[in-house]
Amino acid sequence: MNNKSIVIDAKNLGKQYRIGAQRAKYKSLRDEITRGAASLASRLRHPRANRNSQNYFWALRDISFEILRGETVGVIGRNGSGKSTLLKLISGITYPSAGYATIRGRVGSLLEVGTGFHPELTGRENIYLNGAIIGMKKVEIDRKFDDIVSFAEISRFLDTPVKHYSSGMYVRLAFAVAAHLEPEILLVDEVLAVGDAAFQKKCLGKMEGVVQEGRTILFVSHNMSAVKQLCTRGILLNSGTVAYDGSIDEAVEQYVTIAQQDVASETVFEADPSQPMSITRLSTRNEQGDKTAYFSSKESITVEIEYRVHEPLRDDHIFIILDRADGLLVLKTSDDDNGRETRMDLATGRYISRATFPGGILNEGYYRFRVVLGKRKGVKHDEKTSAYFEVEDTNDYTRSVFGKRNGALLLPLRWDDCFYEPFDELT
């Protein structure tokens, strides 16, 4: 194999984090002193204890792969499997704890929406700012400016501060800037989850164009149909190691198998007092109120959200996003959709809220909830994902006639025979 055509060559890459480090966010000197004293005391008591094994975990371990020029690789895996950490290592944001990698070519990242945008600046100004942040030169931006504007379809609002943009415009602009970076290696982390269908299609088209120019794409997504459309190769990560590396179809199939193992009726999270609100528990209950992860398609499904409000709040909401295991976004909903009174004042304390999905809608499959606490205007306090739950199709009509039906919904429709006229008898 020609050595030159390998653009990413990773050997035994590993990344270790301290347990709790991410949740604790940052330390205060006082905590550090307390911790220091505690660890000194414990070391006096257990002089030979190995602190590494106790306080650290590997987010990624022994990751080895080679990626060739022009390949499109989908990196898939459950939340916490190490996908984003891998991308961070490749882009240089964090450093590995073990192993090494050689990267040939400029690496560009398609950023999460709005990272590097300043709300007070106009669209025009943000194109330059964002371009510079992701590594473009001014001459390069000048040259591509018109392309970026027309791709983003924002020419009328070019001199409006982006804080007045709709979220759709925001996303389009962010993608447009990054898509014109023309790096040798493009990293795409879950950006296509946003924007309308037409724009998503346009983005995928743009990325296919990138591939035709001989560039390489690493694509992280939960949207399996997008991954399948764009990628030829899939790397499946599971608990920080490569579980599968090969054809994208096989990788996706294995991914869904892994998702099935992650079925549970309840997931508990640690409260994060550094945020105004944080989710502490997500669970699913059936009509009888019992916790379960298995539902018949006729049953209603209640999601129970336990959360804490750490500081008094106004005008905050709970948003629920229902995803199918293959990444299909089924439903987005929020706690005031029903005209439920806006909760003006939220005192500090522990809360439990429930939302019920009526039965007889979802087709069989594996699903899970993403729950977001925040404000309508893009402020997010916390986001947590539940374990998967399974819906089993118990309808007689689907079983008897078709066996298993495809499609996201199992919705018996109302049928009316509205006209009848017998043929004239031919005599």
Binding site: I93, T115, L121
Partner: protein, 283 residues
């Protein structure tokens, strides 16, 4: 990070490996990213006075109003000597570089934490953030300096030829702000205690600098320690260069000040580089 951006179609190669211990400062990479410094400075200036009624006038008003208060309290009530200069000019000449230093220091110290979302999403040399935070203060300085010239005109003070030294003193202020800013920015990522210590530190530093009083008031035996503060040289230098006080900062004071600023800068840079690998993980 050993990144070389494309030059003449050559493909840059980067090696990713664990970092341990001290890391060299990659001047080449900083040079490659120099435009980003410009854009961060430009962003901060554009945004700083948005949605304020008086806008950029604040750059002048802040030190000016402080000067008015000082003139009343220290000039009129306490009758602090001021090299026989009108107290408003005496204190404003000091407040202009001091404001530049103090704002630069504080902005640099919080630069990483306030840009945390960028830090965890994009790669660029992290040194750029505190650097552009300090450099961004230059515009405010220029405006306040214009006000200072106006004030001198009012009091009919003409600068001497020493004024040519002014850029040197400004550079010393910039280096000092960056040096301390680097230290604090890196520590701030790990320990948010910096946020609470900072106002106190700046206040303490303010009184350890001859802003409201001339440095001649400091007892002789304390002078060497006193001149470890680079801002002593900056302030006295400004007065000497602009107002023609016939007491130029003594050579040994200038030397000590510059040396301490330089030591702080070099150690700050290395400490920053050493901590850089962990920024995205702990911020």
């Amino acid at each position: 990070m050993n990144e070389k951006l494309p030059v003449d179609g050559r493909i840059p190669v980067r090696y990713i490996k664990p970092v341990k211990g001290w890391v060299a400062i990659d001047v080449r990479e900083l040079w490659v990213y120099r435009e980003l410094i410009y854009y961060f400075v430009w962003r901060d200036i554009k945004v700083r006075y948005k949605q304020t009624g008086l806008g950029i006038a604040w750059a002048v008003l802040q030190p000016f109003m402080t000067m008015v208060v000082f003139t009343i309290i220290f000039g009129n009530f306490a009758r602090i000597p001021s090299y026989d200069l009108p107290y408003p000019v005496f204190s404003f000449t000091a407040l202009v570089p001091w404001t530049f230093f103090a704002n630069g220091l504080q902005n640099a110290a919080s630069s990483l934490v306030s840009n945390a979302n960028l830090l965890t999403k994009v790669y660029f040399p992290r040194l750029i953030m505190p650097m552009s935070a300090v450099v961004g203060g230059v515009i405010d300085f220029v405006l306040a300096f214009g006000m200072l010239l106006l004030l001198m005109l009012v009091y009919q003070i003409t600068p001497t030829a020493n004024v040519l030294w002014l850029p040197v003193f400004l550079l010393l202020a910039l280096v000092s702000a960056l040096a301390v800013g680097l230290w604090l920015a890196a520590v701030n990522v790990q320990y948010r205690d910096v946020r609470y210590t900072l106002p106190f530190l700046v206040q303490l530093w303010f009184f350890a600098t001859p802003i409201t009083y001339p440095s001649s008031l400091v007892p002789e035996i304390w002078r060497p320690l006193y001149s470890l503060n680079p801002m002593v040289t900056v302030i006295e230098g400004f007065r000497w260069a602009l107002l023609g006080t016939n007491t130029p900062p003594a050579p040994e004071i200038v030397l000590l000040s510059s040396l301490s600023a330089l030591v702080l800068l070099v150690t700050g840079m290395f400490y920053f580089r050493r901590m850089e690998a962990t920024f995205a993980d702990v911020i």
